[in-house]
Symmetry: C2
Subunit: 339 residues, 2 copies
DNA sequence: CTGTTAGCGCTTTCAT
DNA sequence: ATGAAAGCGCTAACAG
């Protein structure tokens, strides 16, 4: 019978009911030492009867291990990041660690505050991504607990931490090359938020992709965006208004591509018949747009998984490496051969 | 100067450096009692110097308050649920509580395990959603800590808990009515996963919407789905193959609508010119599909916010009500007048 | 194999 | 206003 305890149940009570000492209860529950089979049964019975649940705080205090891994995300509600969370969760599964998640809302102050909370709760490891923290902040915490960072190039290995970023240049280059290989010669680019490193890296990849095909880089064909849908709508509009014979556009991310596609729809232009589109991120949903979007996949979930594994290994005292999983061009139906 | 402490810093050390007793340090840090201004400065200095950060576990042990709210979600990586998380986070902001999040993977065993972990970590309140737990499980935990449930109809008020669900019937009815008001007479429905209550509620709302317009309910026009994109593709295919003059389809959720829209695209049928589509959920992204999808919005974020607020009020000793925010039809461009 | 003892870091009486 | 002491629930060290 399962009992709902009115008041807090402690080891002592369990011990009393089972007729043993608290230490023995502890030993049985943690498998710390061999115990008489009879007492074991008695204890197990008492635990069930009382509905005993060990107090993690007390345990943490004495063992020095909280069973908590801190996660700092810029935005809890973004599908883009939640995929990473899913990966982290999967990686932690089966381990004695649970993720304590905090959102930094894209600004340094909040991120610092969240970090403080995580550390107060005795997080034994930290996963940080998309952070506005500067390298100093990052190194400060990394000196304190094992830390992995996603999407930033920081040197943390000397502190036993790690950093993981995706190959933006390579991905953008592959995307652009995919376009040139389909015969496109005048290819626009809607750039991401210039405040972020990766926007520049993707722009650079676009340039390289053009060069690979012996095509000139024309700055006029690059318009500013900010990674969000409306900037894709606007950017596409600006590109179209140029009056140049653009037949393909490489968008800094899928959000931008979705915006671009919408602008095209409004003008009665078809994708890919009239204009080809490639995105970046392969966000959930891009497989189901009309037409399904060709995009550069960043394995976010795998990244989360890898970070969790890295931390677990570190917490076991090992010194694992981090390496970001490769980006990959996912070919769908938004690119056609130039007519 | 910000120092990174090599070893754990405790109140005792701070007290020593500041030349006061640990009790005084505690009083200053918590504002528990009046203290001499001079000592206060000394302590604050020592705290800064040593980089002292109170140990939440120790504090929790003595005060009996962990500062943790447990959150059980079926799926961390789903955009649908992450919106609720965003709301919870927002609601908890500024409070001394942090969310400890666990994923139940849509099955009862995992959900029970997660609940156990949350409770071990002394969660003081619980937010549970999309759960496979039965009413008994739910009532058992609710008897233990304040609990709010989203998307299930369980009676928890007698235990000081609450349950919140959206008006699926009303939403579906409004969606269907929107279609009939645009002149559609033969309206299909792709149903959600019949294992979930809400799929039946939405079906029921569809029926009522038909009745409102004096239209007959034809079971042949309802095909099974499971809330996922592929089932939308299949379902739409089956509906089309019926050979009936269907001019509009109400989809059990946006995922399904996206699938349906894809099936239409493949067959060269246009939305909304050839066929009108309405979804449910208004998931992020539905505003940017082509064409933008008309859908029933469930304010997930607001729901998360409301749940967090409910819990905070309860933890303050109040007895708040819960009420789910209203669903609302968001009219976009996937519905046209019947030609 | 098992019980007794001490103590993790903090807050909270209880004196002063 | 402040210090000394006790103790939250648990595990680890030490006897036996």
């Amino acid at each position: 019978m399962n009992v709902i305890p009115k008041r807090r149940v402690t080891v002592r009570q369990v011990a009393q009911v089972a007729g043993v000492s608290p230490a023995t209860v502890s030993r049985i529950l943690n498998g710390t030492a061999a115990v008489d089979a009879e007492k074991r049964r008695a204890v197990e019975q008492a635990v069930a009867l009382l509905g005993y649940r060990p107090n993690a705080a007390a345990r943490s205090l004495v063992t020095g291990s909280s069973g908590i891994v801190g996660v700092l995300t810029p935005d809890l509600a973004s599908p883009y990041y939640s995929d990473v969370l899913g990966g982290i969760e999967e990686g932690l599964e089966g381990s004695p660690y649970s993720p304590l998640i905090g959102s930094g809302h894209w600004n340094r102050r909040d991120e610092q505050r969240v970090l403080d909370v995580l550390l107060r709760h005795q997080a034994e490891g930290l996963i940080v991504f998309g952070s506005s923290l500067d390298e100093g902040d990052l190194r400060a915490v990394a000196g304190h607990v094992p830390t992995v960072v996603l999407g930033r190039r920081v040197h943390l290995t000397d502190l036993g931490g790690g950093a993981m970023s995706f190959d933006n240049v390579g991905g953008a280059r592959a995307a652009t090359r995919h376009l040139t290989q389909h015969g496109h010669r005048v290819i626009g680019h809607i750039m991401g938020d210039p405040a972020h490193e990766d926007a520049h890296e993707r722009l650079h990849g676009y340039r390289l992709g053009l060069e690979d095909a012996g095509l000139p880089f024309d700055p006029a064909l690059v318009v500013q965006g900010d990674y969000r849908v409306p900037s894709g709508v606007l950017g596409m509009g600006r590109l179209l208004d140029l009056g140049r014979p653009i037949t393909a556009v490489f968008c800094a991310n899928d959000q931008t591509a979705i915006g671009a596609r919408l602008a095209l729809y409004r003008r009665g232009l078809r994708v890919p018949d009239d204009l080809s589109l490639v995105g970046f991120d392969d966000q959930p949903g891009s497989a189901y747009t009309t037409p399904p979007l060709t995009s550069v996949r960043q394995p976010m979930r795998e990244a989360g998984l890898a970070m969790a594994r890295f931390l677990l290994a570190r917490l076991r005292g090992q010194s694992p490496d981090v390496s970001a999983p490769q980006t990959e061009l996912v070919v769908r139906e938004s690119v056609a051969r130039r007519r």
